[in-house]
């Protein structure tokens, strides 16, 4: 081995000290890079590495919801962050059919997520963006939406309406009612 020659190491020199140094340098660079990449990548992928499940929220006493009527309820999103401000709020339509039978709808149109407005006069939800219309029971009535309104799971606890929500529902990740198979 001659370190002055400047020749690249050949197969014969691979086992020599110089060859080992070369291999070791590359390995060290690789190891360092991987070690550094793991936390950085992990940070960027954080939202999917640590997914947060929907949580139960108190929507108020049953007496707030007259039989056979629909109303809009504003609550704080259980998954909100400390700096979310007003975006940490969330709204849902509560339809009390009768007794303890409810339907809780997301305000997001299933077409492209715009806010649907409830018209009790005609018993319809209308979307201002692309003309999606839904019936009182959330079923698709007209326009481009591929399905009825997203629904959230609910239960009655000590005469209060509890609703499970949090994430922004989309076609492949709809409201909690669809996940549990209830009310869907």
């Amino acid at each position: 081995m001659n370190s002055q020659s400047g020749e690249p190491p050949t197969m014969e020199t691979a086992t020599t000290r110089r060859g080992f140094m070369e291999w070791f340098s590359w390995a060290l660079l690789g190891l360092g890079s991987v070690a550094m990449a793991i936390p950085i990548l992990g940070f960027f992928l954080g939202p999917i590495l640590k997914p947060r499940a929907d949580e139960w929220v108190d929507f108020g006493p049953l007496t707030d919801f007259p039989q056979n009527s629909t109303r809009l309820v504003d609550v704080l999103n259980p998954l909100r962050g400390a700096n979310d401000g007003m975006t940490g709020k969330v709204a849902a339509y509560v339809r009390r059919i009768e007794g303890e039978t409810f339907q809780i709808f997301s305000t997001h149109c299933t077409h492209l997520g715009c806010p649907v407005s409830w018209f009790k006069e005609s018993g319809l939800y209308m979307c201002p963006c692309h003309g999606g219309v839904y019936y009182e029971d959330g079923g698709h009535a007209s326009g481009p939406p591929p399905r009825g309104l997203y629904e959230f799971e609910h239960r009655v606890e000590k005469d209060r309406l509890m609703v499970k929500l949090g994430h922004l529902p989309t076609l492949q990740d709809p409201g909690s009612a669809h996940v549990s198979g209830k009310n869907s």
């Binding site: 947060r52 975006t87 492209l112 018209f119 326009g143 989309t170």
Partner: protein
């Protein structure tokens, strides 16, 4: 004194050697043909670049005052508009210069496309240009998000609904895009990072390559019909032209200077007169009485989403953009030789006309939104008086039901009201009584069924009113079609 300054400059020159580097670049020769009026078509690229610099300068200013926090961004925008000295003006310039940049990038691309300047040896310059175009649109969208008002909030909702349709990994991509399960502080911050760090960095890197190529490969000579581009001979011919060329600076640059100056004047004027854009209604998820709209350049996409058939929609959302970008990007690979003059490239001219016509038609539709219910028409637009004059109590009752049951949100009377359904002004000449009843009760043809919402007395009254809706002297529609067919 003069000597001292000269000495100082020489000290720097000895070290920087700008005379042989930057100055030669500034003086690089441009084909003489640009001296004619056609040279005015070569000013758009440099002007778009100037607006990018203007965006950086005004963006830095805004960045000093804007608070990229979901809880405070809206208030900080109001603060910039009303409290910060000239804050409104800086926001206005940033906005109108952004609009100008989108326009100029498109005009520049169109000019390059029509004049065949993307052909050999400038294919890569075009490809990088496509990247710059996409980054410009990306900056436009992320900038719109930072406006953090209702349009921004629900615009993110639309983006989420689109990304959420991607098979298998849709929900994960949504969480990555929002930085969590819902729109909030992490969402705004990551769009801030994209708009302020990531995309400008990519823009500058791409622009550097773009400019390097422009200088290395030279500015294309104005095309002449039947002067074909042949990779074998082009470079030689082009270099021959450069021997009689004019230096870029200051000769050729004068036109750029004039147009850049004019553009800056227009932007300052528009900003002073029209002011900043928004913020609109606050980004409150519980305020649903909003009609979210994208900024004007995305309105055609908004129209496509309303008009595409539901069965093809996911394909159109996810696949069409990829195909369009791929075609734009690879175009010079397939059409990098031959004719350059638009006089000999009718297909290229037709492509441009087709693109602009479709864009304008879709844009117009996006402005009108004939597919959207007019959410306030039922309570805000009265029934024309001539339609209720002299009507019976039952018919008047029907007119009230038409109004009360929000029919006007989709149906116009005398052109007033929604356009989602047909105008009902002369509906009685089109539909018989039985057809009217069936349409109201069962719906169909994109109309919801009202059977559950109306009792039979209400249906009766409503249809009585609808039966009066025909011009005087016209007969009502008759169910004669069926008997005709039976003959």
């Amino acid at each position: 004194m003069k000597q001292a300054i000269g000495k100082l400059l020489w000290w720097f020159e000895e070290r920087l050697e700008l005379r042989t580097s930057l100055w030669t670049v500034m003086r690089h020769p441009i084909p003489r043909d640009l001296r004619t009026q056609v040279g005015w078509l070569y000013v758009f690229g440099s002007t778009a670049m100037t607006l990018l610099v203007l965006q950086i300068v005004t963006g830095i200013g805004l960045g000093m005052v804007y608070v990229p926090s979901a809880g405070e961004a809206y208030e900080s925008l109001e603060h910039i508009n009303y409290n910060v000295e000239l804050g409104w003006m800086l926001r206005a310039i940033h906005n109108w210069s952004a609009n100008g940049m989108v326009v100029l990038v498109v005009v520049h691309m169109t000019q390059v496309f029509l004049m065949g300047a993307y052909k050999y040896p400038r294919e890569l310059t075009w490809m990088i240009g496509v990247v710059l175009f996409l980054l410009t649109l990306g900056m436009a969208f992320t900038g719109q998000v930072l406006r953090w008002d209702a349009d921004s909030y629900w615009g993110l909702g639309v983006g989420v609904a689109m990304v959420g349709r991607i098979p298998y990994i849709g929900p994960e991509l949504v969480e990555l895009m929002l930085g969590g399960p819902t729109v909030g502080a992490d969402t705004l911050s990551r769009f801030f990072a994209l708009h302020v760090f990531v995309m400008p960095g990519l823009l500058f890197a791409s622009l550097t390559v773009h400019l390097y190529l422009v200088v290395r490969k030279g500015i294309s000579e104005p095309p002449k019909p039947d002067d074909l581009v042949d990779p074998e001979t082009y470079v030689e011919k082009y270099e021959e032209k450069l021997k009689t060329g004019d230096p870029f600076f200051p000769d050729v640059f004068l036109r750029d200077a004039a147009f850049i100056g004019l553009t800056l004047l227009v932007i300052v004027g528009m900003s002073a007169i029209l002011g900043p854009d928004g913020p609109g209604a606050p980004p409150d998820p519980t305020l649903l009485a909003v009609e979210p709209l994208p900024d004007w350049y995305f309105l055609p996409a908004f129209a496509v989403l309303a008009l595409s058939p539901p069965s093809l929609e996911t394909g159109i959302i996810l696949i069409a953009p990829v195909i369009i970008v791929a075609i734009m990007f690879l175009f010079p690979v397939f059409a990098g030789k031959g004719q350059r003059s638009p006089r000999r490239r009718p297909v290229a001219v037709l492509i441009v006309i087709g693109c602009f016509l479709s864009y304008c038609v879709l844009w117009q539709l996006g402005v009108q939104e004939p597919w959207s219910p007019h959410m306030t028409a039922w309570s805000g637009v009265p029934v024309p008086t001539h339609m209720i004059k002299g009507r019976s109590p039952k018919e008047l009752q029907g007119a009230a039901i038409l109004q009360e049951k929000t029919c006007r949100n989709c149906h116009a009377l005398d052109g007033q009201g929604g356009q989602r359904g047909p105008d009902l002004t002369v509906v009685a000449t089109r539909l018989t009584r039985d057809q009217l009843i069936r349409q109201v009760v069962q719906g169909g043809g994109n109309m919801p069924a009202y059977g559950k919402e109306l009792n039979r007395f209400e249906v009766e009254a409503l249809v009585s009113f609808l039966e009066t809706l025909k011009p005087e002297g016209y007969a009502s529609a008759e169910a004669s079609v069926v008997t005709d067919r039976a003959d």
